[in-house]
Amino acid sequence: MRVGRKEFLRLSGLSLLALAGKKVVNAITSAAQANKPATRPAKRWAMVIDIKRCLQEQGCTLCINACNQVHNVPRFQDRRHEVKWIWKEAFQHVFPPDGAEYMVAELPGAPLPVFCNHCDNPPCVRVCPTQATWRREDGIVMMDWHRCIGCRYCVAGCPYGSRSFNWVDPRPHIARLTPDFPTRAKGVVEKCTLCPERLAEGRPPACVEACKPKAMVFGDLEDPASEVRGLLNTRYAIRRKPELGTRPQVYYLV
């Protein structure tokens, strides 16, 4: 390709203009960021669940209610169409396939909270054909509800059953709408997001905040002084299906 003098000058002028524009945009965005509360960005978010504390009140649904309310999670009578972000499952279903006849008496049948494990090596992200679900730098496995094509490959890929699909329009099934969180359309997949919108404001996830017995502890694993690190250093914790190599970041203290 041959570029004449006139064309060359025009192109360099445009390039300079673009560079200057980028500087301006950067300046504006950094100013906007400066207005936000100063929270140290985490390197690796994780959740620790103290099973003993959680089981103190077995019928308790505070974490579930808080999550459903904050995120406009719909409620369905038909079990087939359920959408769940955080819910409770019996111990033996959360940690299969032990099937031991003799163990700590309170564990079999005990309801434990389950939600997305925000795996370090998430199969759902690996299989998504549109990158509508991805792993953030801080370890949160996120969803883009506007890009998802609803193929449900991620649902098949998740070994924990943590993902739900909107089989019908969820909006008529939201009891009380929270206006500052988006509702979803039919035909997309959704799941727990660890509340990045709250983390950005320096607040813990809604379920953690709602938990009265403080059975859910949230924090940064990369920070040696964090509470989650302290708990994992001193007590024995298990993760769901560790043999699959997904490296879940939700730990259950036995």
């Binding site: 279903h93 199969p123 549109t130 094509i149 909107n166």
Partner: protein, 386 residues
């Protein structure tokens, strides 16, 4: 359009058949509009069983599409002249089957209007991306090959030299479409039913039994309804291919059964238990699966004994039960069985709903419509040449 004028002239019987198919397609279209408005909740799918009839049909027809290689390979690679008259029938069957596959994927999408996101955000780590590439590539290859060879046949000239490498490329490509389709399932860490390296070989073996079975039946129908006779020899040869493929398929299934039950790992055994004995009172698939097994065993007897295999009437019956047995195995049990029990141990029964069956029938009808029109064009061209 290209030789399409041959498709719009036909007997009364031809038109009645086309109208019947169009009626089924019309009904399916209405059901699809209903599904589009209401969401996939109109199907029998659920939070635990998220793929069902649509994806299972897709899987089955990828096999039918791939099976064209069973006539293309002997003819072009081994210069097996007997298949010369039916090679193009295999290629047209492949085109119709791949189109059905794409439609089955499409009707399964929660947000069909966004389906092009797969192209806008190409994601090589997703097997679905590769499946899209291999399926569309295979469609293109077969479309080019069949159009070029058929138009040359019409003009009475030899096909151009450049088509030979394209045909040769279509042979490994056929293997790739079913391999990648198996990879969709057997790369998922939490789905023990599919987590087996035998899945792709098993897919190929069942495909090379079901596809040629269908082709034999189509050849027999053509012989009965038209003046074109594909000949006895290609049908004999195809029946031998079906025999070997069916034996290999059953062998692969038994290998899987041994591995699963001798190792005794509960997560792997539960899916087979669900399919063949039922779990927690859910046994809706049990009669289907045993039907599939019974038909498979019966078909082996009828295929292996030469006296039955070489009898046309018996062979027609045998091909029907091979097709039916593998359709139940792959087009029903394989996908649903992988979801029950769920990762959290839930046993959820699944049964397709009326709209779901109607949409599925419509895609089948589209496939039959394509085959009819393609075969009509082919036979008209041959009649005019003769």
């Amino acid at each position: 359009m290209f030789m399409f004028e041959k498709a719009v002239v036909g007997s009364r019987r031809y038109w009645v058949w086309l109208l019947c198919l169009m009626a089924v397609i019309g009904l399916g279209l209405i059901s699809y509009l209903h599904q589009l408005a209401q969401g996939l909740g109109v199907t029998g799918l659920s939070r635990d069983v998220t793929w069902g009839l649509y994806i299972a049909q897709f899987t089955f027809f990828v096999g039918v599409a791939a099976s064209a290689v069973m006539v293309v390979l002997p003819y072009y690679l081994h210069d097996y002249k007997v298949f010369g008259r039916i090679t193009i029938l295999g290629e047209f069957l492949a085109i119709s089957a791949v189109t059905m596959c794409m439609l089955f994927i499409f009707v399964d999408m929660g947000q069909p209007s966004r389906v092009l996101n797969i192209l806008r955000y190409p994601t090589p780590n997703s097997m679905m991306f590769w499946d899209m590439i291999s399926l569309s590539g295979y469609l293109l290859l077969n479309a080019v090959i069949s159009l070029v060879t058929l138009s040359c046949e019409r003009k009475g000239v030899a096909p151009p030299g450049w088509i030979k490498p394209v045909i040769l490329l279509s042979i490994p490509w056929a293997v790739s479409i079913h391999t990648v389709t198996a990879f969709l399932y057997n790369g998922l860490p939490g789905r023990s039913f599919w987590l087996t390296a035998i899945l792709a070989p098993r897919f190929l073996a069942s495909a090379f039994a079901a596809g040629p079975s269908l082709l034999i039946l189509l050849c027999m129908i053509i012989r009965r309804l038209t003046s074109f006779d594909p000949g006895r020899k290609p049908i004999r040869k195809l029946s031998v291919i079906v025999t070997y493929a069916m034996i290999v398929n059953v062998f692969f299934v038994l290998m899987e059964v041994f591995t699963v039950f001798y190792s005794g790992i509960p997560e792997h055994m539960e899916h087979f238990r669900y399919l063949f004995a039922g779990l927690e009172g859910n046994s809706s698939l049990v009669p289907w699966m045993w039907t599939s097994v019974t038909l498979a065993v019966l078909s082996l007897v009828l295929l292996i004994v030469p006296r039955f295999r070489t009898n046309d009437r018996v062979l027609a019956f045998t091909c029907s039960i091979v097709f039916l047995s593998l359709w139940i195995d792959k087009g029903l049990g394989l996908i649903v069985g992988g979801f029950v029990p769920s990762p959290l141990g839930a046993v959820t029964s699944y049964a397709p709903t009326l709209p779901e069956i109607s949409i599925t029938s419509a895609v089948w009808a589209i496939g039959f419509l394509m085959i009819t029109v393609f075969y009509k064009i082919t036979l008209s061209v041959r009649e005019s040449v003769a």
